[in-house]
């Protein structure tokens, strides 16, 4: 068993195995730090920045920073909560997220975070970007209006040879996460379902399977996101 180290989050004494990332170490101690791009079992990249915490005066992403002995972490301050909320707001205004007709509503992590951080209306102007819906694959629909570039699909949806079904295309404001055209044709139903499940928003939809989960049984209908993290 690895050695246990001591550290503090918002003044609370915590213990964790050395080398663990802060976000996981916090969860082990019953403290929820929000994530969007991070997924268990996948090498973290710190892409979305929503897990930012302050350590020794610096903002660090807790999904990519290992905890060290004696570390003092600030996570629940008003400043950091507002920073996280502003990231959520920026994600909302930079895409076209219309929750009322989105199938992922109720199970969407971005929506759930907006509720958790009590986003009433974004403080930034909506961009209403022109995005396309790619429905050419026989199994899935890739709705670019809702993509937040978290890369979870790129990193987790792979074939038996380890090749990703999803890839980045273009750069800058034209950047898109797209389904590889050739691989998309052979994608099976189980992979399509996994892709939809791993997408934190409603950007990947399995075809012809809409709204099968009734209201009341969706992921975040009963409890806010992060409620599973408790001692």
């Amino acid at each position: 068993m690895s050695d246990l180290i001591k550290f503090k989050i918002d003044g609370k004494d915590c213990m964790a195995e050395a080398g663990k990332y802060i976000v996981d170490a916090a969860a082990d101690n019953g403290i929820y730090i929000p994530t969007l791009c991070n997924m268990k079992g996948v090498q973290p990249k710190g892409a979305c920045r929503i897990c930012s915490v302050r350590i020794n005066g610096r903002l660090m992403t807790s999904c990519t920073t290992p905890v060290t002995d004696g570390m003092e972490i600030e996570s629940d301050s008003a400043e950091i909560q507002d920073l996280r909320k502003s990231i959520i707001e920026l994600l909302f205004v930079s895409g076209n997220h219309f929750c009322p007709a989105c199938e992922k509503s109720g199970s969407c992590e971005l929506q759930a975070l907006a509720y958790r951080y009590q986003m009433m209306v974004p403080r930034f102007p909506y961009e209403f970007p022109l995005k396309r819906v790619d429905a050419s694959s026989p199994r899935i629909i890739k709705d670019q209006n809702r993509c937040i570039f978290c890369k979870r699909c790129i990193k987790t949806i792979k074939d038996e040879k380890g090749r990703s079904y999803f890839v980045f295309r273009n750069r800058g404001h034209k950047l898109e996460v797209v389904l590889d055209e050739t691989m998309g044709k052979t994608m099976d139903e189980a992979t399509a379902k996994l892709a939809m499940e791993n997408c934190p928003v409603g950007s990947i939809l399995v075809k012809e399977r809409g709204f099968e989960i009734p209201i009341g049984k969706r992921k975040f209908d009963k409890e806010p996101i992060g409620s599973d993290i408790k001692l």
């Binding site: 007709a101 989960i213 009734p214």
Partner: protein
């Protein structure tokens, strides 16, 4: 010198509308128009969306009867997923949808009668506008107000149990439904604490009908003659001619009761119905092709449904239906304000149907969805509280909607509402030099009888000011009155 009178916005209806009444120099009414001043564009922005989103997306047209749009879209998509044309669902799928729809009917009709129209009956068409609203009813007739609120609540709870939410749920999906009814939910509706149970709702629906009948027989001349005009009538009916608000064939009768659209399959509605665009309104004017624009327009809604149906398949409502039909010797009823009478008979029918369905074990079943060979196009029709509602979708090879056509109930009633407004304006305003608030409300009473959903959006009661503008021939404002 001619005058133009504008009533804007029209109050105690859903959404925004305005009325203009043109008078000549002698004070004769030349023309009246009900303008729909909002533009929605749902038909355009569903294009490109995956087809299964339509029932959830398009229902956002309305906050009062979203269930109607939800179900009409789902019925159109049943055709697309190969689940038949309205009668091919599993028993649980169809009966859950029916329960949702009757719940919707019950709550919407209750809202219309108690909140929007009853103030006119209790306080008079020209009564004090400060009292002539639901708050006035709550202060003077608290039992009636409570009854209205609780009937609405019961209907909304039925919707919640079947669609997941009281407003804008997700229950109906292409080919069926996404949940059944739990035993607990069923028992709550059947045996719930007074007054929220099905038996009480049936008896309250009877009481509401008695309330209206008392008013009617005490004011028979006024009710019978208020904006009377003959018209065609159109609605769905069950194949055997029974009133059926969920599914059936399309029937139209003329003012004398002759069938002019003989129980057609509504998948072919576009062979029989056409829509005309007029420059002064965002709302189209539908008519029966065979009879042309001038003679082919028709009414939809409660009045039309009880004119096209041969009978009502629940005993208490059927008894009331027989008495109601006797008033016009079995012929179609063309009295504008009898719309309320018909609406309350339907409210009773909905309560009876809810009670009957709740005893059906199929609601508890697990076989929720059925699918067959996919089609490219589908039409879904339903009788919404305000009348026949058409949803028509066509999809492309990638499962995206490429065409949507919606003919909503209020659109079907566009021509009759214009006729009704003109009739009332002629009867109360001709030759009058001063236009009073009571006269303006009389015009609104005619519109309100149709229970229009002018933009299919809701507004808080009492928040909409009524504005009357008198405009001269050169568009100069002669006078303006504003009330709240």
């Amino acid at each position: 010198m001619s005058k133009k009178i504008t009533i804007e916005p029209v109050t105690r209806v859903e959404g925004h509308g305005k009325v203009t009444i043109h008078m000549d120099a002698q004070g004769n009414i030349q023309q009246s128009r009900l303008h729909i001043v909002e533009f929605r564009g749902f038909e355009r922005f569903v294009q490109g969306r995956p087809y299964w989103e339509a029932p959830v997306l398009v229902q956002r047209l309305c906050g009062i009867c979203p269930v109607s749009h939800h179900l009409a879209a789902a019925k159109a998509l049943d055709v697309i997923v190969g689940a038949g044309t309205g009668d091919g669902l599993t028993p649980t799928g169809e009966k859950m949808r029916r329960l949702m729809h009757y719940g919707q009917f019950f709550q919407s009709h209750a809202l219309h009668f108690f909140h929007l129209s009853a103030p006119d009956f209790l306080f008079g068409v020209d009564g004090d506008p400060a009292k002539r609203n639901i708050i006035g009813i709550a202060l003077t007739n608290p039992d009636l107000a409570v009854q209205g609120v609780m009937m609405r609540k019961f209907g909304q709870e039925i919707i919640r149990a079947t669609a997941g939410k009281k407003i804008h749920g997700t229950g109906a999906i292409p080919g069926g439904i996404n949940k059944n009814l739990s035993i607990e939910e069923r028992d709550e509706f059947l045996k719930g604490a007074d007054p929220l149970n099905a038996d009480k709702m049936v008896s309250w629906a009877e009481e509401a009908l008695d309330f209206f009948k008392k008013y009617y027989f005490a004011n028979k001349d006024f009710v019978d003659n208020f904006s009377y005009f003959p018209s065609n009538h159109l609605s769905l009916v069950r194949k055997d001619g029974a009133l059926d608000i969920y599914h059936g064939v399309l029937r139209a009768v003329d003012a004398d009761g002759k069938k002019i659209l003989n129980d057609i399959d509504y998948q072919e509605y576009d062979k029989y119905i056409e829509e005309e665009v007029r420059s002064w309104s965002y709302m189209k004017f539908p008519y029966l092709k065979e009879y042309g624009k001038d003679k082919g327009w028709y009414r939809v809604g409660p009045l039309a449904r009880l004119n096209t149906a041969d009978f009502i398949p629940t005993p208490l409502a059927q008894k009331e239906f027989e008495a109601y039909k006797a008033l016009t010797n079995g012929k179609p009823n063309n009295h504008c304000l009898h719309m309320h009478y018909a609406r309350l008979i339907e409210t009773l029918h909905a309560a009876e149907m809810i009670r009957e369905l709740l005893h059906d074990p199929d609601l508890l079943g697990d076989d929720l969805v059925i699918k067959g060979e996919k089609q490219k196009e589908g039409v879904g029709l339903i009788e919404a509280p305000r009348g026949t509602l058409f949803h028509h979708y066509r999809i492309n090879d990638n499962d995206q909607i490429e065409m949507a056509n919606l003919i909503v109930s209020t659109t079907n009633n566009n021509e009759p509402m214009n006729k009704a407004v003109n009739n009332v304006a002629k009867s109360v305003m001709t030759g009058k030099e001063v236009i009073t608030e009571g006269m303006m409300n009389a015009v609104e009473v005619a519109i309100r009888a149709y229970d229009p959903c002018l933009s299919c959006a809701t507004h808080a009661l009492g928040k909409m000011p009524l504005e009357l503008t008198l405009v001269g021939p050169n568009d100069e404002i002669l006078d303006r009155k504003r009330s709240h």
